[in-house]
């Protein structure tokens, strides 16, 4: 291993510019003659617009133009598209109501876009928006899913009973038969709390139209600029790809919330052509709360059948999943193919049957958020396994060990479609037990008891599917896109390299990790490598970053392109050194002829490729620039064991996370420091979900957790120093053997925290704890149990 090669904890090269305020974020970009947009949003969760009068606002100082949904409709602007079609049990397609960028005559959630005001300054636009006269006829509101599907107020006329789809997976009859034979059935009701993503950088978009060329440019805070170009160009604004450039420069965090094609992107792109001037829109933080897609929000009933030895026989799950008011870009796949397919977990459960009803409500749309479906699956599974252990008298460790998929069973076909390629769940658990010093827990618990505190320990042995995704598989499941990745490796004449990747970095450290791949493979210093991403004008194509796919899919594409570079360079080297190609060896950045002292540096070959005086022109073209598209053969399956130790003050209900140990199998680790950072961030978010974060609407559909005063994000003081380790089994279907690390922390941690709380309070009679486990809720549970 070299200092900058695979396996080295190289400090992130991008951090210098981020930490010194020199990042180039969308809001840092200003175009000549730029105007500013302010979006007038609905204060009502559900209402008909009976009149919309912009005439006074149009005469306000600085106003350039005001647009409404009717203006966009008249111009043929389409609905914001959904990228995944899930079918009902009877194979009919899901309900897919229209989602106009600006509403036509009805608002469906607080924050819905009513009008766009374009002015010379942002303040002028905002003040003019105040002068728009909107009359609303308030309609009945539904926020509760159970009410929504039982004749509650209709969010969309074309989605009867607010049902988006009624879907299932698994063998219902075989599952029922297994339950009939069960020695014990554990059951649990689970609410996976709705979360509000809070990327450090709010969303922003700049639309720019070149009147000379007719080219559109959109600068936007996106995790996948090519996807935005495709969706917005083809489905919303009817702009062909060659006339539309989408740039996602430095992006300050996404966690999924910046995957989707948002209304504001379409509005500024469309309106910029109308007014022939650039338009910038930047969300205020309070707009982010009511317009960035939310995450999670499942209500589930689950049952686990066990035999007399504690072996799992079958799992039966019934879930309601909130879609919010409209279908966001990938919303339908989250509670289905990213959720129910993971319900076997790391266990040999032979039968799994899951039904999911996706429901429209008068709330902000819900889509993928760090983990997307998999946190919901692992929370359910690890909670019910915890419950089953308590009811059958098995220890938390024993019940898991009895049911783990054994190492010799891989590749392992689950009853819910997925085939796991590798894993070593027993060793991962053992390593975590050591890290968490579980042996000393009883003594620590006794010590805490002397202080009047209650200690608990909770386990989570989770799995997830990432490296998204094999295109043919997801296509058969309703994805309306391929999920490959592309890379171009361009070697310059003097041997430095620019990599153009379709993966987008918004905090993941790609500029470091990908440079390490190149440095390691080509034997050149990392500083000779530049990673370019986030610009459809530069990168040929890309599907972007989500689902922990950048290294497993994007990195593999880079490796393939790089190997093509080496193949071609080897041919050039063979020609120049007058040796058979088979005798050329490439190592540490040098081409050598085996058995001789002839050698040429990588840069000498690259120069020869661009100054081809002595060059095999008969068989090769000049230049050294290769592109690869990589479509994975399977998902990757990171997994691991998280162990959480909490101490609860029964007098106050405050839960203190004392110890958190995570041992994750993310496959081969390219940069341990980055992996550790990703796990830290994910675990912090998971603990945030478990203890602090809870999105709440009132009965009128008003978001009452709409600021940091009411929506609690985890802070350093809420968290212990994490113990993070890895135990790698290699992915079998990519050359790097990597699995992905971006989401493991958020997927594995919430059940460990809640299981620890239940462990601390079980003997008081507290059987369950919903998230977030706030002090009030914990205290109340203790009081109720006594």
């Amino acid at each position: 291993m070299t200092a900058t090669g695979i396996g080295a904890s190289v400090k992130r090269v991008e951090d210098f510019r981020f930490l010194t305020g020199q990042g180039n974020y969308t809001d840092d970009i200003n175009r000549p003659n730029q105007t500013y947009a302010w979006i007038l949003r609905s204060p009502h969760a559900h209402a008909k617009i009976t009149s919309l009068d912009v005439s006074a606002a149009e005469n306000a100082p600085g106003v350039v133009a005001i647009f409404t949904g009717k203006d966009m409709e008249a111009d043929g602007v389409g609905s914001l598209p959904c990228g995944w079609q899930v079918n009902n049990k009877d194979d009919s397609p899901m309900a897919e109501p229209a989602h106009p960028p600006l509403v036509i005559d009805r608002v469906r959630h607080v924050g819905d876009q009513v009008a766009a005001v374009i002015a010379e300054t942002k303040d002028q636009a905002r003040q003019a928006a105040e002068m728009i006269a909107v009359e609303y006829e308030v309609l009945p509101v539904v926020t509760n899913m159970a009410t929504a599907i039982q004749g509650g107020p209709q969010v969309h006329d074309d989605a009867p009973n607010n049902l988006c789809y009624d879907w299932h997976i698994g063998d219902k009859d075989a599952t029922a038969a297994a339950f009939a034979k069960a020695a014990h059935v554990a059951s649990i009701d689970i609410v996976n709390n709705r979360l509000i993503p809070n990327a450090m950088e709010p969303r922003a978009a700049i639309g720019d139209y070149d009147t000379a060329t007719g080219d559109h440019t959109l600068f936007t805070t996106s995790q996948n600029p090519h996807v935005i170009r495709l969706l917005m160009g083809a489905f919303v604004l009817n702009i062909p790809e060659h006339k539309l450039r989408v740039v996602a420069p430095d992006v300050g965090g996404g966690f999924g919330s910046k995957i989707y094609h948002y209304a504001e992107e379409a509005i500024v792109t469309w309106a910029a052509k109308k007014i022939r001037r650039p338009i910038k829109w930047t969300a205020e933080r309070s707009e982010s709360f009511i317009t960035d897609c939310h995450g999670r929000d499942h209500v589930t009933k689950a049952e686990l059948a066990l035999d007399k030895d504690g072996k799992f026989l079958a799992l039966r799950v019934d879930t309601l999943a909130n879609m919010g008011a409209y279908l966001s870009t990938f919303a339908p796949c989250v509670p289905t193919y990213l959720y129910a397919t993971l319900l076997a977990g790391v266990y040999t459960t032979p039968q799994v049957y899951c039904e999911v009803k996706a429901v429209f409500t008068n709330t902000v749309p819900v889509d993928a958020y760090r983990g997307a479906g998999r946190p919901e699956a692992s929370f359910l599974l690890e909670r019910i396994v915890d419950r089953a252990a308590r009811e059958t008298g098995l220890s938390q460790v024993e019940i898991r060990q009895r049911n783990f998929i054994p190492n010799d069973a891989f590749p392992y076909q689950t009853p819910v479609a997925l085939e796991y390629d590798s894993g070593d769940y027993g060793s991962t658990l053992d390593q975590a037990l050591t890290a968490a010093e579980v042996d000393g827990f009883e003594a620590r618990k006794a010590d805490a008891a002397k202080q009047g505190k209650r200690r608990g320990i909770g386990y989570s042995t989770y799995i997830e599917a990432c490296g998204i995704a094999p295109s043919a598989v997801v296509g058969s499941l309703g994805a309306r896109a391929g999920l490959f990745e592309s890379a171009e490796v361009r070697v310059h004449p003097t041997g430095s390299v620019t990599v153009f990747t379709g993966s987008h970095s918004h905090g993941q450290g790609h500029e470091t990790t990908f440079s390490q791949l190149i440095s390691d493979t080509l034997g050149i210093p990392m500083e000779n490598v530049e990673i370019v991403h986030g610009d459809t004008g530069k990168v040929a194509f890309g599907m972007g970053t989500y689902g922990s796919r950048s290294l497993a899919v994007g990195g593999e594409a880079i490796m393939r392109a790089t190997n093509r570079i080496i193949d071609k360079a080897t041919k050039i080297a063979a020609h120049i050194m007058e040796a058979p190609e088979a005798d050329i060896e490439f190592k540490d950045g040098k081409f050598t002829v085996s058995g001789t002292d002839k050698e040429m540096a990588f840069a000498e070959i690259s120069l020869a490729a661009y100054v081809p005086h002595n060059f095999p022109h008969e068989t090769l073209e000049p230049g050294l620039d290769e592109t690869a598209f990589y479509d994975p053969a399977n998902f990757t399956y990171p997994g691991g064991c998280h162990i959480c130790e909490v101490e609860i003050d029964p007098e106050t209900g405050v839960v203190d996370v004392i110890n958190f140990s995570a041992v994750d199998d993310v496959g081969r680790v390219i940069n341990p420091m980055i992996v550790e950072g990703q796990v830290h961030g994910g675990v912090a978010q998971g603990i945030g979900q478990a203890l602090l974060e809870g999105c709440r609407y009132d009965e009128n559909g008003q978001l009452i957790t709409g600021s940091y005063m009411d929506y609690t994000m985890p802070r350093a003081g809420d968290l212990p120093s994490f113990k993070v380790g890895t135990h790698a089994t290699l992915c079998t279907h990519n050359s790097l053997g990597v699995k992905g690390c971006g989401e493991v922390g958020a997927i594995g941690s919430p059940p460990a925290v809640i299981n620890a709380i239940v462990d601390a309070l079980w003997d008081l009679g507290v059987k369950d704890m919903s998230m977030p486990a706030t002090p009030e809720k914990v205290w109340q549970a203790i009081q109720n149990a006594q």
């Binding site: 009502h44 607080v110 009128n700 008003q702 009452i704 709409g706 005063m709």
Partner: protein
């Protein structure tokens, strides 16, 4: 949001009554009040402009009065809208009681808020409403108390109105005394009291909007 309060006003119930009928007095108590209009005996509207920092917003409040039970009180309902700041709507019971030479005003407000007002202000709305109400009624009590002291020998309608007119410039839309001759004859509290209540809500909206 629920809010209750009680204010002791150093004036007779008649003087309070008069002042509550005086748009000029109310305007003086409500910062940024542009106009108060009476559209019928039981319907009123008010407009308030406020500017804090870079943000300026215009709020409109409309109020209707019902269940009038002179002189004990009534139920009132109203709605204040503030554009992008959202809206507040609700109802309240307001009552006056005589206590020697002074008057005790009590109110009990029940309101729902929407839009940014709910999003940002839900946690702080109770304490802030209280603060806003204190400011409003504090100013009201001060003005009425002063007038009452000045006019103590002659607690008739005309001098009170004159005093108010002297205190601040008359608003263009302020109804002349002749336009509301019957107001002073009714027993019970005039709807203007609730206009004040709605304005309090509107002020909360303003406060929340600036955050």
């Amino acid at each position: 949001m629920e809010m209750t309060g009680e204010y002791r006003i150093p004036a007779s119930i008649d003087a309070v009554w008069q002042a509550l009928n005086d748009p000029d007095v109310l305007k003086q108590c409500i910062p940024g009040c542009d106009e108060i209009e009476k559209s019928s005996d039981t319907e009123f509207s008010a407009k308030v402009t406020a500017k804090v920092g870079p943000v300026k917003a215009k709020f409109s409040g409309a109020v209707t009065l019902s269940d009038i039970d002179p002189p004990n009180g009534y139920t009132i309902s109203g709605e204040g809208t503030g554009g992008a700041a959202g809206f507040a709507k609700g109802g309240a019971k307001v009552a006056l009681a005589e206590d020697g030479n002074e008057t005790i005003l009590t109110y009990d407000v029940n309101a729902t808020v929407g839009g940014k007002l709910a999003q940002i202000g839900s946690r702080l709305i109770d304490s802030t409403s209280k603060k806003m109400a204190n400011e409003f009624f504090g100013k009201f009590a001060e003005i009425v108390g002063e007038q009452s002291a000045n006019d103590a020998p002659a607690p008739a309608e005309e001098p009170v109105v004159e005093a108010a007119a002297n205190a601040i410039p008359a608003a263009p839309n302020a109804p002349a005394p002749a336009d509301r001759p019957d107001m002073g004859d009714k027993k019970g509290l005039p709807p203007m009291v609730w206009v004040g209540g709605v304005i309090v809500l509107v002020l909360i909206a303003l406060w929340a909007f600036q955050q």
